[in-house]
Symmetry: C2
Subunit: 371 residues, 2 copies
């Protein structure tokens, strides 16, 4: 397959960090109408660097939808099965948004900025339109807009050291999934202890789009001796860390229960929400398939462009691999895929049809045990 | 600026034509979560070929939202200021969808498949979420979903000859913005006399995603002697033909009146629609700026990544160029841009700040008169 160069126009919104982040990017994708770098040196080199040092990620594509006004909390509750009232001001929660059938609209981070003011920090779908449509239709008294706030992510084991040089040692005390409002280089930012890796770090929400380069350079200049460089969400690392990708591992066709996102909420929260009846029915009846971690035997496999079929011994398709990559650390192919619930137990053998032929595979656990 | 290679994953939906259309694509973008080729040989070579021969365009990214059910017409009316009741079955209409402020949500083609069944053929925003949200909120009795229908566009002066070889001479009688339901290579398709160029042609809506290669090959095989090849929407041709691009020439921040899209509808249609009060107020008060065609003097300019400022003689910014390209046929730079209404008259001199410096420019007409 030919790999075309990404052409840019005004239709793809400009990240405030683009002048820095596109330097040296080998490959990129488009996410929420912005450019998302996907590789700098190589997938493996980026991976090892991320695990050992600290990287600046241009994740401006994690755009925000701001919801404020008298009905803000009630509306946020309406969007998701998770109990938003339990999210304190200064706290973030990860939760799926679902439609009337329980299908996943998005799996954002929600930041509560005030009792009646939220940011929904998005994965790849136009939730601004979804939220506006629902609120207009139902008559919620809320203001919903794109606040032009763009995140820069600082990920890796040296992220604490880097941020403490810029913000002082107190930033080390910031708890997981909590945020503060502060300034860096005289620019107002929100700093959260979050990020789309398992290596630790922060997301810095830039509130002045014109100050993106100043923010980037301030962080880069503070990185002396830390081997800091530009990076991006890494396919190997995020699969190892069990981080699902909307559009890859779940879509509107999937519900949060089969995708395993129900561990982030309890069914039966006190307030009403869209899709409640559907989700409760799915929970009561039980799902037929379940997202599982898989180890696929043999030579390295590429990430699927569509899906790789999961087959039973008779050769019939029973499921689908949604993401896969070779882990140089675990020295095997690691993957996510939907399998029938009766084969979702770690240790169960399955088969995966890859472009290189049928491969043996095993359902595994969060430690990627080989079985 | 570094130009990264587009990386593909399952998150970018697969076009049924991708195996053919990505052969030879030099650059591509992402549109509605699908890959959109943007150049094959060169912008200029693609342009001349399109004007002289016939091209197959993979525009699967023009995804559909299907709306059907008892309230389908009433809901479609609610989405747009255009009178949808005047669209006959078998007809297409081009019209903006607007929000409560009159901001443009999308500028789709609407196809009426039956009295109570429509396809909204989209430009680049998730109207599925917008329409679902509004319909759920307001309680319209409609079914709204993505029908997995993907268009292949056949554009250029020899499109009639090509299609008549495949569908018989009667296809030549299909009127502009009308469609028929038929089959090609035993595959059910909708064939419309539409397309995003001024060179004439058809859009073929594939209804069986698995038959994309068969449809492509059937058309390609019928092209003997026509110099048929793969192509894509062409920046030069579409600006020359006055075709606006959502995300480039108008966004949610613009209303249809300033974008000049009000020529596609009459204010005051009998049925209610969202944004009516806002649009009527804007019309009554008059807009302050207007999208205009511009000729920019001097050496070829590149398409803006953000905007090029339009300035008055005092050097103050009064407007913005949203799309620009050098036309090898007109031998000048042609552009779209928002200018103050009092400078929107053809023949008015303005200045444009390009990356190569301040340039003289003139507002022009649909014939690109030099003045």
């Amino acid at each position: 397959m030919n790999a075309p160069v990404l052409s840019l126009s005004r239709r793809l919104r400009v990240s405030p960090f683009e002048l820095r982040s596109l330097q040296g990017t080998k490959t990129a994708s488009v996410y929420n109408h912005l450019v998302l770098p996907t590789c700098y040196e190589s997938l493996e080199a980026d991976y090892w660097h991320l695990r050992e040092h600290v990287q600046l990620w241009d994740v401006a594509c994690q755009v925000q939808v701001e919801v404020s006004g008298p009905d803000a909390l009630e509306f946020m509750e309406y969007l998701t099965p998770r109990d938003v009232s339990r999210c304190a001001v200064g706290q973030c929660i990860y939760t799926p948004l679902v439609d009337e059938c329980g299908g996943i609209i998005n799996d954002p981070l929600i930041l509560r900025l005030a009792e009646d003011r939220f940011w929904i920090s998005l994965s790849d779908s136009d939730v601004l339109l979804w939220a506006k449509g629902l609120a207009l239709g139902k008559g919620f008294d809320v203001r919903i807009f794109d606040p032009d706030v763009f995140p820069l992510s600082v990920q890796g084991p040296k992220a604490d050291e880097l941020l403490s040089r810029v913000l002082g040692d107190s930033i080390r005390d910031l708890k997981f999934f909590r945020f503060i409002e502060t300034t860096i280089a005289e620019t107002p930012v929100v700093v959260a202890r979050t990020g789309w890796s398992g290596q630790g770090g922060y997301e810095i929400y830039l509130r002045e789009p014109g100050a993106g380069i100043r923010l980037w350079d301030t962080l880069a200049d503070a990185g002396d001796g830390l081997q800091l460089r530009a990076g991006c969400p890494n396919l190997i690392e995020r699969i190892e860390s069990g981080l699902l990708s909307y559009g890859n591992d779940m879509t509107l066709e999937n519900n949060p229960i089969e995708a395993g996102l129900d561990r982030f909420f309890k069914l039966g929260k006190p307030t009403d929400y869209l899709g409640r009846a559907a989700l409760e029915k799915i929970a009561a009846e039980g799902v037929s398939s379940q997202l599982a971690r898989l180890i696929i035997a043999g030579e390295p496999v590429a990430n699927p462009r569509t899906v790789y079929a999961i087959c039973n011994e008779a050769g019939e398709q029973t499921g689908a691999v949604t993401s896969a990559v070779y882990s140089p650390r675990l020295e095997c192919n690691i993957a996510f895929g939907y399998v029938p619930v009766d084969t979702a137990t770690p240790g169960t053998a399955v088969r995966v049809m890859t472009p290189a032929g049928l491969r043996e595979a095993v359902v595994t656990d969060a430690e990627w045990t080989a079985y």
